[in-house]
Amino acid sequence: MTRHTALWIALLLAAIAVAPLLTASNAALNFIVFVLIIALAAQGWNLLGGVAGQSSFGHAAFFGTGAYVSALLQLRFGVNAWAGLAAGIAMGALVGWVIGFLSFRAGLRGSYFALVTLAFAEVLRILANAMGFTGGAAGLLLKLDLGFANLQFSSRAQFLWLALGFVALGLIISLRIAATRFGAQLVAVRENEDAAKALGVDVLSVKLRAIAISGAMTAAAGVLYLQYFLYIDAQIAYGVWISVEALLAAMVGGRGLVLGPIIGAFTLHGLGEATKAFAGRVPGIDLMVYGGVLVLVVAFAPGGVLGLLAKLRPKSRRSGETA
């Protein structure tokens, strides 16, 4: 990472952090918090799908696990919300490791891996929807009990800073990984598994570590969602929507780049909101925009928004963004 990139990251985070000081609009703050949660989920996706090249279509499995584990611990066992957060993240890592172990050991790659992750997420969704323990189709409602100890905040600004803290932590983890042996091995696995093996990379272990960390990050996003909206059901927590959001944000922002998920999440939802504002109440119009953006990105800008920006910048300054 160059000083140039570090500066951009600091500026971006600072700009988001001061937003609550500039506006008191609930709509604006809601928007930023929601986008930050998506960005965090996408950071998890990006580590596995972007850096390590193992595209998942089922990150809902981790998002939902984080949310459900935390909610169940709080509701059924009276566990503290912060402990629920830690447990949710740990379970996200564990579920990631198990899904990874089952599919990577069987040698699944590419679209086969993507389909299997989708299947796991769907199984979890159906189970959560069917079982009484998880609240069935009615979902789980956290008791409103504002206070720092309960991870519930009366002001949206405080929650925004909390979510931003998680996103910043995700950035730091991603940057750290990119600068280490583990990061180099992840990229080597993405680029060419056979060559990586020949150079002594334990491909299975590298992939398992990647999916566990990825699962933990996306599970953290799930817990944040729960604590912000205080309600989840199977369709929200394990629904395909969040798998798509995580994947889309990372791809639109710039696959494999540390800033990709944040840029992508803001770009997508910014476009979505703008479309809603202009097009009025045409139902689903923002989803049509997502689809259109995805087609455009895949066809014309495989490097995403950041890749596009890098092309526009003078050559000498281009190298800094790769991670």
Binding site: V187, R190, N192, D194, A198, L199, G200
Partner: protein, 247 residues
């Protein structure tokens, strides 16, 4: 150092390698030659751990490594290059070589330092910041060599590192390979470029249709009628001998 015993590799009904046995002594440059489709690359894949043989065993420094996974063989000191070059296309040359160097060095700065040193050694010093995808064929072959070397191997398996190079490029890289051996790395190489085989190898094994048909020093192997026939067809040795005597 390396001992290959009765290796048989069968793919369905096709016997790619049938009962091949040979050994590579420490510090040698040994050649493995043979016509196309003889099973040389298959044998390499078995030695490097990419394929598990149907029968037979591979021993390295006295230990049976037949069932050892590839990455652990690399850690033991066996490195290979690929006949069809496999660069990490999205990475630059330094990062490509560093992946190999990371095997023995956990720190990024040390791995990059090693990568630069290895690049100098194989003549890629000027290309460190270039994307691997932008290298010429000769450059990619050097990159294969550099990455394998960066793992600091005891045994280096070179699969046609000279194929596709022009004569002057071959002249440039032959001394590099000899220098690697002189620093104590044992080399087993598959090669079609006979000029290089004659030049580099002390001992040559000839594989044809999955069987080892001859071995010895390069000149005597080239004169072996069985070898000539394996390359040029039945009766070729006799015809060549006759033509030579008439001339």
């Amino acid at each position: 150092m390396l001992e290959v015993r009765d290796i048989t590799m069968r793919f369905g009904g096709l016997v790619a390698v049938g009962g091949a046995s040979f050994s590579v002594p420490k510090g040698a440059i040994v050649g493995l030659i043979g016509p196309n489709g003889a099973g040389k690359t298959t044998l390499f894949a078995v030695i490097a751990g990419f394929l598990t043989p149907t029968a037979g065993s591979v021993r390295f420094e006295g230990d049976d490594i037949t069932a050892m996974p590839t990455h652990r063989r690399a850690a033991r000191g066996i490195a290979r290059t690929f006949q069809i070059v496999q660069p990490f296309a999205g990475l630059d040359v330094r990062e490509n070589i560093a992946v190999g160097a990371y095997l023995r060095h956990a720190s990024a700065s040390e791995a990059h330092r090693r990568a630069e040193a290895v690049a100098q050694r194989v003549g890629l010093g000027a290309d460190l910041d270039k994307p691997a995808a932008s290298l010429t064929v000769a450059g990619r072959k050097r990159l294969e060599l550099a990455r394998a070397l960066a793992t600091e191997p005891k045994l280096l398996l070179l699969d046609e590192v000279l194929a596709g190079l022009n004569p002057s490029e071959i002249r440039d890289i032959v001394p590099v390979i000899r220098a690697i051996r002189d620093e104590g790395v044992t080399i087993l190489m598959i090669e079609h470029v006979m000029q290089a085989v004659m030049n580099l190898c002390e001992h040559v094994h000839v594989l044809a249709q999955g069987k080892l048909i001859a071995q010895g020093d390069p000149p005597s192997v080239c004169a072996d009628p069985a070898v000539v026939e394996a390359y040029l067809g039945r009766g070729a040795a006799e015809r060549l001998r006759l033509e030579a005597s008439h001339a």
